[in-house]
Amino acid sequence: MKKRNVDPITLSVVRGVLETAQREMTLTLEQTARSSVFNLAHDYSTALFNHTPEMILQGQDIPIHLGSLIPAMKSVARYFDGDIHEGDLILHNDPAYGGSHIIDTCMYMPVFYQGELVFWTVCKGHLTDIGGPVPAGYNPNAKEIFAEGLRIPPVKIWDRGKPRKDVMNLLLTNMRARRDQEGDFNALIGACQVGARALIRMMDKYGRQVVQDCIAELLDMAEAHMRKLIAGVPDGTYSGTAILEDAGHGFGDFEITATVTIAGDNCHIAVNSPPQVPYFINSYEGNSHSGVYLGLMMFAQLPPPYNEGLYRCVTTDMGPKGTLCNAQSPAPHMNCTTTPMETLTDAVRLAFEQAAPAKVSASWGHANGCNIAGWDTRHDEEYVTMVLASIISGAGATATQDGWHACGPECCFGALTSGDIEMLEHSYPIIIHRYSLMEDSGGAGRHRGGSGTCWEVEPLDSPMTLITFGEGRRIPAMGAAGARSEMVETKVGRLEVTRGGETRIITENVIETIRPGERAANKNPGGGGYGNPFERDIARVLQDVRDGLVSVEGARRDYGVVIADPASLTVDEAETARLRAA
């Protein structure tokens, strides 16, 4: 720790300033962005990089972006190597350059100090639209990435301080709801500027060298921290396999396997997945980093701040090019940040569960949501958005407590907010009939998984296009430490469309037209349980029954608790003992 002669006090102060800079970037994005996906879903990331560029601070915002900005930043810097100037601003979304999916656009601002490149301020956000044949970008019928939307390789939108209006116009002309997209680009630029301002102020105060030394130290400290955690796991090879269900492509279920090899304080994570498919669930390498790192975090359980030092002792192998988790052009990919990312995360988590059984929590419900689009007759304009409230699943239970209700999906880990229903009805011509928890949806266990949610919508006065994505409609969230559920049908997600008094259950990804008078209810799965459900305290089962979170039937089937009288919640103790002993 003494090698750079860094003063431990200045070090703590620099860390605080970096966090404040990142926080102010986040606030700017969140308060000004148009896209509800990014300012409510917190489906954005802000990050600071040094000149090398190594990530020196990752906003804690959302696991989807945990790893993917790292390769993206490196790609972008490489692309413009030797041609990066003060006043440049670079935009990019292409997964071929380390991006996650093309609807997540990234803004990169090089920060110069006394004429030299010192930092990058970077942010990334999920727009409401990126052009292409289907509003909001998710096209379950796409066979190639070209059928999903606009690919933007690294491109300068400011050149030495001069905005390139022609380039912006080219991009915006290819997108729906242009006003919103333009506003979101402004928000991204504003956030980068706010971050740059804070970094420059810090260098003015402490001097560039001191700041850079402190940052190098922070990276080393994070590395040492992760190494210590890894060293605590017995050396060996651990493997986990999770099933990715067929959500409509017709190729059947897939297996994704993660193999974690621990050797001393190093960790290698290898992924094995089937060949890529002409369906929107392929994950390019940048995005797969996020899935792997989230699995790692479910083991490491670290508090913020996060920087690239954490991953120095972790090497990854996403498998051969052209596979589901290491896709290459022209594989369609739009769904990748949830599917297959969450299954990939599960595989890594399962491998770690073997390595550190007491520590790793259960899986969270996977995203199984929808986008909506149509014409808003109130203002005579088009609307398009992802519905965040449609992907709120239950959290996995942990070794110490029940899972949080309505906190998922796994790829977001509670980072998103679903937006107020009145504000949604104000912004879009819809009626939200229900946004509630669901009985028997949390995975059974000594600690119960969190409840999933149901979001039911009807268009106000004109037909609405509803596009679904994700999975988790057949296979419930995986439990941990011996948890198991008997009542599976209530623990998985699905879409229920009601027309003329008839309800149709849809478990595949579809594009549906919903008319006024018809309703679409999107149900999201609950989280996995933890431990043997027959060991759950009977009083807590009864409390859940009283609260309508577990039914009388669920109490019997999932928990072996037989309720003799539902009104008074009296227990048939003999029968309960018999069931629980079996």
């Binding site: 605080g16 606030l27 706010v194 949080w404 998103l416 679903s418 107020d420 009145e422 504000m423 009805e425």
Partner: protein, 707 residues
């Protein structure tokens, strides 16, 4: 001030502060131990202490007081300990769970923490009942209210022994009839229950915020009602001329019946009075841009006034519950004298938020505390008098402080105890500075344009260091600093907030007249309420605010405006104010984009006369107050310097001291870093200025007087 006295009683966690001001401007502070379980007992005890010390009996004071003012923590305590009333919710069917879904979010900072628990539900799911009814976003009825559903909910609540009921329906703000009819039914069937109606308590768009606010209110209303009855009754028996006024989180006073109905307004009253005190202290110099920092044993509270008005927050999470009503923005940090220094998993020195509290307290208290705290660092640095705090009533053990710092911090980090102590001081300051940025920079204000005001007993040791870090060049420290919030309450006005939803785009004559009608309607109600409370028209003032955004944005920013007639042409004035505020906050605006309003609010204030001011006698020069010297550390290397110590009680108006120096007041210690000059003003306020030498300042002032 019409009568002999004004009495302020501010209940805190440990102490209840009593402020007695008389018409000559003399202000005295008394303290009694708080009695959280029997809140009126502390009031009786405090009045007894005042009688013992001054000979004035409680009925003499109360019957000769123009106002008795009470800031209470009964609501706050009930919310912290989850000991509010048994509460039921009647909601629109399908939306009973919004307060448990909490927008699907888990608080930041705990993303991968497997032990961070969900928020405790104030209304558990079995006491949340959905009823069939629905209003749409345009205010029309989609489904009429099913009254039987409401009756069934009441039966359920009666069986379960519910004491308080909240009613909150989707879009009720645009069409309150369903809520009002349901309320009638509840009143008929549950005549003993307290009732909170969402659209009346918080008539603003956002269902989750409104429902959550209504629930917090319902949860606290029976508690506040019992409390107000007890206090009002007690003061009536003492011969009070006026009903007791209660201090609210919006920074204003209210009648007891208002607080009993709108209990959520009484939730975080304590630190919300700091801005009033700050304005009063700054008045002789015309200072209107002031940041007040208040450091106690466990927490650090920050408030900000800009151009004489305090920052207001709406729609925030308070103790993990979403609350919509406007409250004075108080940024609270777990950083106080008792904050513990520790080394985190990465090997970095951190301060707090864990605190040694008052038991066992900092290591130097010698009451068994072994962990190094801020107070220990300040003692090792020489800032605090080892003979003890509070006039020697609390002796401090330097050796214990050094040992704690050495064992837990200095040795593991491989640095000296002095260097570690200065590091602790620096880091705790830096944590506070980052929090100050949240009330200033994040609100679009440059802290360097502000004066820093010192409140609370522990702040004085840090105040010049904080100012230096923020780039602030002027600091105020009142002799009343340790009781500044209680003092602020007796300087406050009666204030009520009136709100209305207004989801409308800022275009055309119809939008203009709708907004104008809304504001004038709200303000008519406000004037009426204040007139009933005895305020003449000339005493009433109005501030308007609009929550606005660019069409398509999800969040609004609140824009304050003066009252003026809103005509179609005046819409540009509103838009211009919004563009300016957006740019101030977020570095840019979009003058071409369409703007919409979501909610509007008028804050109506009835001015209360201020007490008089005292004037300190002229001093005989600072040398007469010099008590000696002590070794103190003002540098990161930890090298001590012999530094003069002054007795504040012996200083008079006009006396000047240049740093480095320490001024010891009975309840606070003021550390003046090198480069600062302190002057005691006749109003009892030390004015600390950076970068002027005593002599230079005097010459400049003389020159100014001559000019």
């Amino acid at each position: 001030m019409q009568n002999q006295y004004r009495l302020g009683i501010d209940a805190g966690g440990t102490f209840t502060d009593f402020i007695l001001a008389d018409r000559k401007g003399e202000v005295r502070i008394f303290k009694a131990l708080s009695t959280p379980n029997r809140p009126t007992e502390a009031i009786r005890n405090g009045l007894k202490i005042i009688e013992e010390e001054t000979g004035l009996s409680p009925d003499t004071i109360v019957s000769n007081a123009d106002l008795c003012i009470n800031g209470t923590t009964v609501g706050l305590n009930a919310l912290i300990t989850h000991t509010g009333a048994k509460t039921g919710l009647i909601a629109t069917k399908g939306h009973e769970d919004s307060i448990e879904i909490r927008l699907g979010h888990k608080e930041d900072g705990y993303r991968y923490d497997p032990e961070y628990p969900p928020a405790t539900m104030l209304v558990p799911r079995y006491l949340r009942r959905g009823v069939s009814e629905r209003v749409l976003s345009n205010g029309t009825v989609h489904t009429p209210l099913d009254e039987d559903d409401v009756r069934e909910a009441c039966c359920h609540f009666l069986r379960e022994g519910v004491e308080s009921v909240a009613i909150s329906f989707v879009w009720s703000v645009l069409h309150p009839d369903h809520e009002l009819r349901a309320a009638q039914i509840v009143r008929e069937m549950m005549p003993d229950a307290r009732l909170t109606i969402g659209s009346q308590l918080y008539p603003q768009v956002r269902e989750y915020t409104r429902t959550s606010t209504a629930i917090v209110n319902a949860y606290l209303a029976p508690i506040l009602q019992r409390y107000v009855r007890a206090v009002d009754g007690y003061f009536q028996r003492l011969g009070a001329r006026q009903p007791v006024r209660y201090f609210q989180s919006n920074g204003g006073l209210a009648l007891g019946k208002v607080v009993a109905d709108q209990s959520v307004y009484a939730i975080n009253s304590g630190p919300a009075s700091a801005p009033q005190a700050a304005m009063w202290l700054g008045e002789p110099w015309g200072m209107r841009d002031i940041i007040t920092v208040d450091m106690g044993g466990t927490s650090f509270d920050i408030t900000l006034t800009r151009d004489g008005r305090a920052n207001v927050s709406k729609n925030i999470d308070f103790l993990r519950y979403r609350i919509g009503i406007p409250m004075i923005q108080v940024e609270t940090l777990g950083a106080g004298g008792g904050s513990i220094g520790w080394i985190d998993g990465m090997g970095l020195l951190q301060m707090g938020p864990q605190s040694a509290g008052s038991e066992p307290g900092p290591a130097c208290y010698g009451k068994g505390g072994e962990k190094p705290t801020t107070t220990d660092a300040n003692l090792v640095l020489g800032y605090l008098n080892p003979e003890g705090l509070v006039g020697g009533r609390l002796p401090l053990d330097v050796e214990k402080a050094r040992r704690a710092i050495r064992t837990h911090l200095a040795d593991p980090l491989g640095i000296s105890v002095e260097k570690a102590a200065h590091g602790m001081f620096t880091i705790v300051n830096n944590t506070m500075v980052n929090a100050i940025r949240r009330v200033s920079v994040e609100r679009g204000y440059d802290p360097r344009d502000f004066v820093l005001n010192c409140a609370g007993g522990a702040t004085g040791a840090h105040i010049t260091a904080l100012a230096r870090e923020m780039g602030i060049r002027k600091v105020l420290v009142s002799k009343l600093a340790s009781g500044l919030c209680a003092f602020g309450q007796i300087l406050s006005d009666v204030k009520y907030n009136y709100m209305a939803p207004a989801p409308v785009r800022l275009e055309g004559a119809e939008a203009a007249s709708r907004l104008d009608r809304l504001f004038t309607g709200l303000e008519a109600r406000g004037r009426e309420d204040l007139a009933l409370d005895g305020f003449a028209d000339g005493k009433i003032s109005i501030r308007r605010s609009l929550d606005m955004r660019y069409v398509g944005q999800v969040h609004e920013c609140t824009v304050d405006v003066d009252p003026f007639e809103i005509t179609e042409s005046a819409l540009d004035r509103l838009k211009a104010a919004f563009h300016a505020r957006h740019e101030e906050l977020y570095t840019y605006s979009e003058p071409q984009s369409a703007v919409e309003v979501v909610n509007v609010e008028s804050a109506i204030t009835g001015a209360v006369d201020r007490p008089g001011r005292t004037t300190l006698a002229r001093g005989k020069g600072a040398h007469s107050a010099l008590r000696g010297t002590r070794e103190m550390i003002f540098n990161a290397e930890g090298i001590p310097h012999e530094t003069p110590v002054y007795d504040g009680a012996l200083l008079g108006a006009g006396d000047r001291i240049s740093g480095p120096a320490v001024i010891q007041e009975v309840t606070t210690t003021i550390v003046i870093e090198p480069g600062w000059l302190a002057e005691l003003h006749e109003s009892g306020v030390y004015v600390l200025t950076l970068g002027v030498q005593a002599g230079m300042a005097q010459r400049a002032e003389l020159a100014a007087e001559e000019a």
